[in-house]
Symmetry: D4
Subunit: 250 residues, 8 copies
């Protein structure tokens, strides 16, 4: 249930087109829906500004399809993350407006309801191998109503590539920095801007990167200020935090 | 050098009261100042919205005093973190407007220049032992121009204490959650609000808390969205990130 | 050898239907049985209230079948955990009363001997991906004689889903909380009840969850009281501990 | 507020000696008390069967004294853990019934209100250096209404010392096993009993014990069933869980 | 080059059947042999009492075959560990006396030269899943000239199974204890015997066993004396150490 | 852009064959090239003495081919590391001078431009399984203009094999030591030479080698002096550092 | 109770000088002695060849004194490890034959009962800072009846110092190698001898030695055979294992 | 024994002023000197280009003094690292030319024998708290014959401070980068130069810096090439490696 839907309902009550009892029922019924294996949280958009998002891993194709169907029926834009082409085919057969982004591994089923935040989110990535995480962030930020700028492959090994882009970077409201290996890009960017920087360590690397731990620790220990860190490879979470910030702007 | 100072200088040039050469000199000279053991970064306020902050550990009393003196002379509000009563006595003898907060372990020397962000930062803490970190965050957020609300001792072991305060929590622009032990407070709060949540794990705990690692991992793995994490015990960093967000609002 | 079987034997001796020598032999022979690759512990039910359970991984299909055959022949209810459809087919061909639960990955061959504990075990899970572990706990608790209630998908990101169920939760004798990612559910539940809470971290998550380590540390550091933790993904162990508690009730 | 106190209040309302408004006020006021630095949770006894316990580390002597005073005034038995002789002197000056156990590092101020659980908790320890943790568990279990048996220095390096005591061990309702170094005692005991075993790893050891990590991992990986683990050195938590179990028996 | 071979050579010189120059050449040539990708260490038997052993992983089938051929040609008994059926087929085609043990994953090509140590090595294992490591130890100990006794599936969860075998265990010169999960068996055995105990942690387990780390730490922290630990799953290394001990006996 | 190319351009300007504007354009355009998914850093050879190297993992075959094509077109020798036969086939079809080294997993497309450093790099490896990393180092060092000597299979378990080669080792300008398992070779070699030693831990090993962590820590803690460590399995990085050193010699 | 004492008792029974009842009583009473805080294990010498040893840390001066008194009274040689001058003064006042070794931090109270093992234990140490651990091993090995040779400061950074001593090293029955930092000495020695090598990692080092973890992992991953590892800094344990081996020799 | 000393000796033999026997004796005797607790390695200067350096921790004042005396007597420049004012006083009383650097915590006793390497080593540090490690590197590099440039407080949080110094940085033969916290400085510098970069992580930081682990991992995972890493806080080791490189230049 989005804020708009609730407002509509309350105005209906005010206009005496809907009885209080019926309104109560609708609100209650829409609060969450029991699927047995899951409880869809229809009030999440009200509480958090965006409907429940479906995290793909650990769910069967049928479970994902069922949740999509219910969320879509409730009028929500649907976002599935870390999913596959195969899941997309299944969803698409039933909900043909679904869109798949193979690099970001996301499915989006638009419902036209997410209002623009008016904010601009810029996504920087350090290397080519960080792209899937960067794209997950970019797609999520777009679907949540942000203008998104992508600036990729600007790792600190070739600092001039980054310095060339800093004017563009400074136009952002929030900057998402996606980097694996040693993850130094977040500190370097944060030292040059006054915007909030959301740092996403990636599992890109080998040996002593220990699956992204090196980049994670780098980002947590940043000597530059204004950096908040999310989980390794969590492009979605970075975009969600960015949106919580850009919505503030209104 | 703050944005105001630079504006003043440029207006002086425009009004032909200052020659371009002199202006150039002043800007250059103010960029950073070489102290031998340190290079004071006078442009940081321009780049990042707040002057360089002095992190106490690893610096001698004399080094801290020298940096305070220069920053203060340059017209900046001075903030020293993780410091001691003894350092305060030394600073106070020379700069009597200095203020010491023994719980937060901070020294502030106000210069009246930080403009209000217009934002409200609410600091929640889980337990009594988390107070030093929470107060460091609160003092920093205040000195950076935010309205600050403190809500302490609302850990999840007594959830009703938190639920009672949620209306007040929702008035914030940014929420800082300070918690040690298992650090679950960040997830629980983030699940109930739409504002950005900055999570600060603390080293409070024993045994398998491993110096704050348990709370850190909890916060990084939060199942709720809109959470950015800073380093263990980093109350200052949380407030700096919060300010980067509240300044966005203007 | 269950307590009932031993009692029967001793009553036979008392009634002079069985000679002491024969009784001794039967007890000795039933103590454990040498299979070469394994020693079946037939006295475990006597010592611990439930026959030896077969942990599937690292055993061949033939080894599992052989142990099932012997345990079943000794009159025990058989439980195989972490097993597969393929192993089930092999067992079913010989012991057709075997039942397979694909979600829990368990095989049960009932022997009708486990007396009810009279206790109620409630299994909570945080997310859909935690279901296999939650079901392993639920199936084990049932086969060990408990009444079992399942309450799934009540993670702290949508706290109202949990609060709605708390009345039902409070009816339990023991509560098993199954959660991955940050594992905060255990603390939140334990803070609201007076029953013992058995916390099962799961390996669900990614990045800094480090295969369940994050949830494990969260649960060990719980600020709420009354929480005992078992190994990551150890649904079986949680149910066995729960049964040790519910049997106490009698 | 204990269950007895609430019952009294409600019976007063039923008997029309207390007005509903006044009862409401008393319940609300007693829910938690704001001390500025802490919120005393007066309803914890209602929710969890024992009043809030004061964990000493990270609190000043004055903070501890203030909380003791309020809890005692509210009619609760007070327990302070991980405290010192010095704190005890301060409390004793004001509340002379306070008792100090230097080995367990606990202060108890009895209020005569904790009803017996009717259960027996047996505390085993592996070595002499584990005694402070074992005593913390024993004192807590006693003050929470259990009969307590102490069996100390029965580590697995001299198995006959343990085997000699097994008959006594089997009389317990719940067994707490306290062990550092390799922590093998928990598995060995759990393999011989049917009662729930609460395992407390201690930080006793050196080198690769890594502050109790070795014992913690041993206990979590126990091949014997019926074992729940609490945090390293958490004698208090073990006793609280034991009490949650023994209260079940009634 | 074994000690016998060298003795023969020197006796040939003494008897003037071999010239000193030729003897020198043979000794030198036999010291190590350059294969390009490897240098076969033909003197290892002289220095360490057993020829170089071929550790399978990371070597191609052809590389293993080449090394086998040279070692065999030099008169050494050949042992290949952690190998596969497929490698065996290739070796067997050329060296038909080769023997494969699928459980231990070893190939042995006997050369009849290893003299008996006169010692007895007893291999204990905790569970069925530990068998491959236990068998690797047993096969290695046999091929190195020891009498070997296997006692399997005597984990501490059923202590009576172990106690039953202790008389047999005490007949050993060296005891190898192979255990995964919590690895407590090593401490328990070492507490009951005076022989040296070689502890082999295995990677058997899940969750917080962290690939054998839990068992490894348990064994290193053993409170019983007389325990030496080898690497996780290193059955071969345990047997080699055992042989270094039993050879001492002569 | 290599140093030679830039020199040519500037001489063209000096000789008035190229206008300053055109020269500026060429330098700028050649600085880096935007491919969308990557920014090729054409100035790297100028800054670091060798063109950008293509790290294979995480890049598609098409991405690698595109980058090869551009680098080759810009006149650079191309090096692809951690690649496969399949990628080689694709490149070879278009750029037939490409060479594949299956052991090192490298592709080299020579452009004849790398001047000899005049230095000699000697690569030592401890065991046969370390060869892929050692070969990656050797191939990289060759393609960067060094004379390369390979000395393989000289691990410390057979010290005489190493001592035999020490005269040859001492002829090197830089020594690269590649070792997995316990990685002791680096310390032993560094204790006997005065040249800089670059230590490359490998992930060869099992159990407590923890993917190369054991060798990494060994090398970082070397008691011998003159040792610099690179990431686990980073043969390429070792050779690049060696080349930075040998180029110094000129 | 030592083997000799028991033999004497049994011969007394055989000779009818002691009644069976009295013998039984004496054996039972001497099995272990209850001190309240500890259970002295008087049968340990029988089971393990040496009386219980007192590990100092975590025990009060009075507790240590009490245990010494009882062990001494029972006729055992007493060994206290990791103790202090202060404890020694207290013991010496009562048991003047006590000897303190300040480097090894040991107290020995000889009782003249430990028979020589006939074996020779050689203790090697890598650096000067490893001496306390090396001396703890040497003192323990002496008091347990071994001939002990000390060869100190032979770390691999100066290999010639070690090679010079190898002839002496090869005379040992068992070799104990004590090394911190990277711990490579164990592998190097083990590669040159056929005796069992007991490796003792020490916590000597800094930074990435992580309190001895680096040396521990090095020793566990040794590529040389015949190495058994004990806990970090566990000189006592190494000597006890060495003695278990040398006693075998008889 | 330095190279010069040896040359002198051999020339004496050639000139028939010294008999071969005497020369042999002197070389042998000077090889290493037995102090009981240590073996001074007088040949290290021959093998490694600089005499043995005394690492202070874990050695008594007397031990350090003894080693200084012998090294000085042998004509070597003496360097003591990680030492104290107190040790300096003791040395100075006997060897008055000793110099103490309190920031670097080093003592130098010059002997005028170290020839200049002709190389220039530039030491960069990120923050004020990194100075002790940076100074240890600088003092060591000077005493080993290098020209040393210090550029301090150029951390990436204020990138302009670093960029301003890059021309000076590029004049170095070897660059040592000393940085704690996130350690990003090493990658940023290495991306801009072609010289070898020696990265020294420091333990400066808190929380998730884990005693320097964060900076260490950052440096090992550097995306820029030409970086070799030494142990945490190992300023000495960095300078020794730098000297191994600059000596190459000759």
């Amino acid at each position: 249930m989005t804020e708009n839907k609730l407002k509509e309902l309350l105005e209906g009550v005010y206009a005496r087109k809907i009885s209080p009892e019926e309104a109560l029922n609708q609100i209650k019924k829409l609060s969450y829906e029991e699927l047995g294996f899951a409880k869809i949280d229809h009030h999440r958009a009200l509480r958090q500004g965006f409907p429940e998002v479906i995290f793909g891993p650990g769910k069967t194709k049928d479970q994902i399809l069922t949740i999509c169907r219910r969320l879509y029926a409730a009028g929500s834009t649907v976002l599935v993350t870390r999913t596959t082409e195969e899941v997309f085919q299944a969803i698409c057969a039933e909900l043909p407006s679904a869109q798949f982004n193979p690099l970001a591994r996301t499915i989006v089923i638009p419902a036209g309801e997410i209002p623009p935040t008016g904010g601009k989110v810029t996504v920087l990535s350090a290397g080519t191998a960080d792209l899937p995480v960067a794209e997950e962030a970019a797609v999520t930020a777009e679907v949540m109503g942000n203008e998104v700028e992508r600036i990729y492959d600007v790792g600190v090994a070739g600092l001039h590539r980054l310095l060339d882009q800093m004017d563009k970077v400074r136009e952002a409201d929030v900057i998402i920095v996606v980097a694996g290996m040693e993850g130094a890009l977040a500190s370097v960017v944060a030292g040059m801007v006054s915007q909030p920087v959301i740092a996403v360590p990636t599992s890109v690397g080998y040996g002593a990167s220990f699956g992204g731990l090196a980049a994670l620790l780098t980002m947590l220990n940043s000597c530059a200020i204004g950096v908040g860190v999310v989980n390794i490879d969590n492009g979605f979470g970075a975009a969600a935090l960015a949106t919580a910030i850009t919505r503030r702007k209104r």
